[in-house]
Amino acid sequence: MGNIFRGFIRASSFLRKEIFEILRQPRLVATLVLGPFLILFIFGFGYHAQTRPLRTLFVAQTNSPLNAQDIQNYGSSLGVQITYVGITSNQEDALNQLQRGQVDLVIVEPVDATSSIKNNQQAVFTFYHHEIDPAQVSYIGYLGWLYVGVVNQQVLQSFAVQGQADAVNLQVTLKEAHANVAAMRLALQSGNEALAQQKQQGLASNVDAISQGVGISLGLLDSLQQTNGASGANAAPVQSTLTDLHQNTNQLSDSTLNTNERLASLDKTDKDITDLESMLAEFQSITPSIIVSPFRSETKSVANVQPTTLDYFAFAVLALLLQHIGVTFAALSIVRERNVGTMELFRVSPLSAAEALLGKYISYMLFGGVIAAALSALLVFILHVPMLGNWWNFSLVIVGVLFTSLGIGFTISIVSQTDSQAVQYSMIVLLASVFFSGFIMSLDMLLKPVRVISWMLPTTYGTLLLRDIALRGMAPSWVYLGGLFAIGLVFMLISWRLMRRLIAVSQ
């Protein structure tokens, strides 16, 4: 019992010593709390989720079917992304302006779009840029895709407008068909076979004209129905009615039918025509932009709050900062003892490796905990970052991140020969964390074998767990939490083994 108590006293020597040394550097403590807070504060204040507008120069041939106004309209319909600078027919001059940085983007219209399309080929809009940032290059590629989408939509819209104009003519034909039906009915009822046949021929010619007209305009309604997932006759109501109309009209010319049967067919024909009329009216009532772009999307979250970009990054910053504090402080801790010479004192004294590490672990965890508490309070109460979950769970994750980071740091410290080596190794851990922990990009964007690195970094676990707790209000994933502590335990054992060797007698 006495030995255990004395062991705690020996460990406490480091606890006090490390804390006193840190407290003697108030600027360091202030920087560690206020630095990240101010960075996040300025980020939250200065970040606006708008894409960069690109000064765009268009290149179009003088004989282009697209006029300058069309081109400007296409660009401006995308929003602020494209700032119309002008239009020119000199592609070389436009590209020179791009090289000189006078414009950000040059869009070259297809030279002979009509011919390409007639030859069953897509006409190509070429987007020239001078970017080196892969994200910006992707952005321009995406912008090109959007731009061509707008152009295609405009073309379709003009088709729809034309279809609605044609529908007016179709209405006249439908009215004539109604009149022929009514006249034929009267002729049949009065037994005037000659007149009935004449009206029947008129009706047949009306139905042919309707078939042709409907193919252009009302066919769009059928497409809509099919896109909507309908099947069978419901999938193409216009086509189905037309087929029905043709059959009924043909029956009217069947000489084997008696009068009553022909009258019944005539009623059906009349109904088909009425149906087509109502469909036509429906088609005409739809605005062309809805016809060519009938669907749109809406994004809604089932989460209790919708985090801002600041909210999303705040906990990643917290996890990364705690990892960096843990790794750096621990990494410098033992290497400094060795360089100063205290290690020789420890070798002669009854101090064990476990006691030295225990003292250092506790002191740095207390220090890291205070930093985490202060920073979390500033985030939640000053920057109003949401905290939906349980603070105890939150604290448990903080403890895990610090514990594991310290293990990595102590291991670095013992294998390093100098301060600069320890700092270099710590920087490598930091750099790895920035790229592999999901801090700037999702883990899903990494190949699975590469994710092994991610799952060795405390920031990866810290970021995922803290976000789940704070932004989703969830309990921490015990698998992640277990993984975090397991890695911490492994590094603690490694550092303990190495420390034992360090304190032991030199050969």
Partner: protein
């Protein structure tokens, strides 16, 4: 400081030296009171031999001075004795145990003051001392003990100052206090007086003697050969080899082949008289002229030779101004001692 009344009082009759040529096994009786015992201790780093075949014993409650020039292997020897290094060959026992295998309880009996200040500049004097006390598992109620240690090295008034803000001498005193705070039985002090002024050096030696009087054993290394006179036993180390272990007086005697007497006459001393003087049975062949009427004579024993010299001068009708034992400075002794080594080298 806590006085250890039960420790053996220091005696002036010092432990006879053990030279490498003597028996490997220390003599019975002497070994029982030996705190440190080294036999054929050798340490090599690669091909370089830093400590070579060193043997000596350190009796309890004594000050053992380990003297040698810089790079002579003193610090390596201390590290071998404290268990920091494992010997390449030979055997060493400290407090009757192999220092490499000392358990924790046994390690509490050791105090080690490294050559350089190895504590923390950002901690105060008190905090540094408290850290050292904790390292040895001292009770939490140790405030009184810390205060005593600081008063002993006259640093109590400076206890609130940061270590980085105190002088080099104060840092050495703080190191000493940190070494003493847990009341060790055996102290290893590696060049504790290096780089400090003579006044502070004297204070340190006063401290060491006080510690010895309290019953502690001190193994101390120093470059200042003049400090050897403060030790009970002195080991002279050069180029990794232990040249001699003896009392300071014994070393002087051994170095010059006897005691030295300063002989001054009223008139000039002629060469005939000097030749006769050299032929006297108690006079060693060597005499050193220090002036026309003075010389230093090496004799077997100064206390018996002085009356005989006076008688001889009376017989020769030589008017004597003074005859007294001359103690050469330890610097001179050291130079004389290592000269054959240097010449050989």
């Amino acid at each position: 400081m806590k006085k250890k009344g039960n420790l053996i009082p220091v005696e002036k009759e010092i432990w006879p030296p053990v030279s490498p040529s003597e028996e490997d096994q220390p003599q019975t009786g002497q070994v029982n009171d030996s705190v440190i015992s080294a036999r054929h201790l050798t340490k090599k780093f690669g091909d370089e031999t830093v400590v070579q075949d060193v043997s000596f014993d350190v009796p309890r409650a004594s000050i053992f001075g380990f003297i040698g020039p810089s790079g002579s292997g003193k610090t390596t020897t201390v590290r071998l004795l404290t268990g920091v290094y494992k010997p390449t060959a030979g055997k060493v026992t400290v407090l009757d145990h192999n220092p490499v295998k000392l358990n924790r309880r046994e390690r509490v009996g050791l105090g080690y003051m490294p050559q350089l200040f190895v504590l923390y500049p950002n901690l105060t004097v008190w905090e540094n001392l408290n850290f050292a006390a904790s390292l040895y598992g001292m009770s939490l109620f140790r405030g009184k003990r810390l205060k005593e240690a600081l008063k002993f090295v006259e640093l109590y008034e400076h206890r609130s100052k940061l270590a980085r803000n105190i002088s080099g001498g104060m840092l050495r005193r703080l190191s000493l206090a940190s070494t003493l705070v847990h009341d060790p039985q055996l102290l290893f002090l590696d060049e504790p007086t290096a780089g400090i002024d003579p006044v502070l050096r004297r204070k340190f030696w006063d401290h060491f003697r006080e510690l010895k009087n309290q019953g502690r054993t001190i193994f101390i290394t120093t470059q200042y050969v003049s400090e050897a006179d403060n030790c009970d036993l002195v080991g002279v180390q050069n180029n990794g080899k232990l040249l001699m272990v003896d009392t300071p007086q014994g070393i002087r005697h051994h170095t010059y082949g006897g005691d030295m007497v300063e002989f001054r006459t009223a008139q000039s001393f002629d060469f005939n008289a000097e030749a006769i003087l050299r032929s006297l049975p108690f006079v060693r062949a060597k005499t050193v002229r220090t002036g026309p009427s003075s010389m230093r004579i090496i004799v077997d024993h100064a206390n018996t030779a002085i009356p005989e010299l006076m008688g001889w001068a009376q017989q020769q009708k030589i008017q004597v101004k003074s005859v007294e034992e001359y103690l050469p400075s330890f610097e001179d002794v050291f130079v004389e001692l290592v000269r054959p080594e240097v010449n050989h080298g």
